[in-house]
Amino acid sequence: MAEDIKAKLENYHTAPFDTRFPNQNQTKNCWVNYVDYHRCQNALTAKGADTTPCEWYRRVYTSLCPMAWINSVIHE
């Protein structure tokens, strides 16, 4: 499993098609991956486990979300 996620991360080009968001409006796609990354980080850190799987969500939201949106959330 850990090897799978590492391989997936190494072969990452850009956010793949997400069937949950098939249409024009991708706002939720950006939001969901951002939230999932932080939830994943919190959950795995609380368990004391390796947080590498969370990297996937970080790559996806970095690809999708405008930098200004990410920065403004961080500063809030």
């Binding site: 850009t14 098609f17 098939p22 024009q24 409006n25 706002t27 970095t62 999708l64 405008p66 200004a68």
Partner: protein, 230 residues
């Protein structure tokens, strides 16, 4: 790109735009044929010296000119829906480029690997060098690789703008707080222009878009050099 006294669409640079042009030509031909037929019919009706005071109705011709328009509409609808669904096909993109509309310039972000972002301002007319196009050139172009599906995510920072590149068949509103997605493939290298397509204030006409398509191997060199510069 556009040229003086242009009447038709710009030549296609993406497969989808080729389809759209074909559909446009098909539908326009039907419209022109019908208009010609109607114009001729009116002309002959108005100029004839023949009169017939006994014609009341005719079931035959009424049937024909009810069924025929329905068939013509079907002939138009079939390719229309075909292209419409083709535009929505899932294509796994190789690259995501974000563009943000501002008053009055576009900014581009390439964040799949590193965080490359830059602004793209129009080159003012007095600063153009010979050979450059007035109101279309920008200081930094959005560069994409040829033959690669590109996902565009379009939004805005202040008011509504619209990102349009006619030769790629692209136009998508840039709305603050919303991320609009569109995809395209550029068939051949070149520089392709567009202009902001939603009124956004004083300099709405002066925030053009220019897209440069280059082979993938050169794209990697470009992105490295842009990261070094910025």
């Amino acid at each position: 790109m556009a040229y003086p006294l242009q009447l038709g669409l710009q030549d296609a640079t993406s497969p989808l735009m080729e389809e759209l042009i074909q559909f446009h030509d098909h539908t326009l031909m039907i419209a022109l044929l019908l208009s010609t037929m109607v114009f001729y019919t009116i002309l002959t009706t108005v100029t004839t010296k023949l009169t017939n005071k006994n014609m009341l109705d005719s079931q035959g011709i009424e049937t024909i000119w009810t069924i025929a328009p329905a068939l013509i509409l079907i002939l138009i609808a079939m390719p229309s829906l075909r292209v419409l669904y083709m535009m929505d096909e899932v294509n796994n993109p190789h690259l995501t480029v974000k563009t943000i509309g501002h008053q009055w310039y576009w900014s581009y972000e390439y964040t799949d690997y590193k965080n490359l972002e830059f602004d793209s301002y129009m080159i003012p007319t007095q600063d153009l060098i010979p050979g450059q196009f007035r109101l279309l050139e920008t200081d930094h172009r959005m560069v994409v690789p040829t033959d690669s599906p590109v996902r565009m995510l379009i939004t805005a920072d202040d008011v509504i703008h619209s990102w349009a590149v006619p030769t790629l068949g692209e136009k998508m509103d840039a709305i603050p707080g919303r991320l609009n997605q569109t995809t395209f493939v550029v068939s051949h290298p070149g520089v392709f222009y567009g202009q902001c397509s939603e009124i956004c204030g004083a300099n709405h006409s002066f925030m053009p878009i220019s897209v440069e398509a280059i082979p993938l191997i050169h794209f990697e060199d470009w992105s490295t050099s842009m990261l070094a510069k910025i």
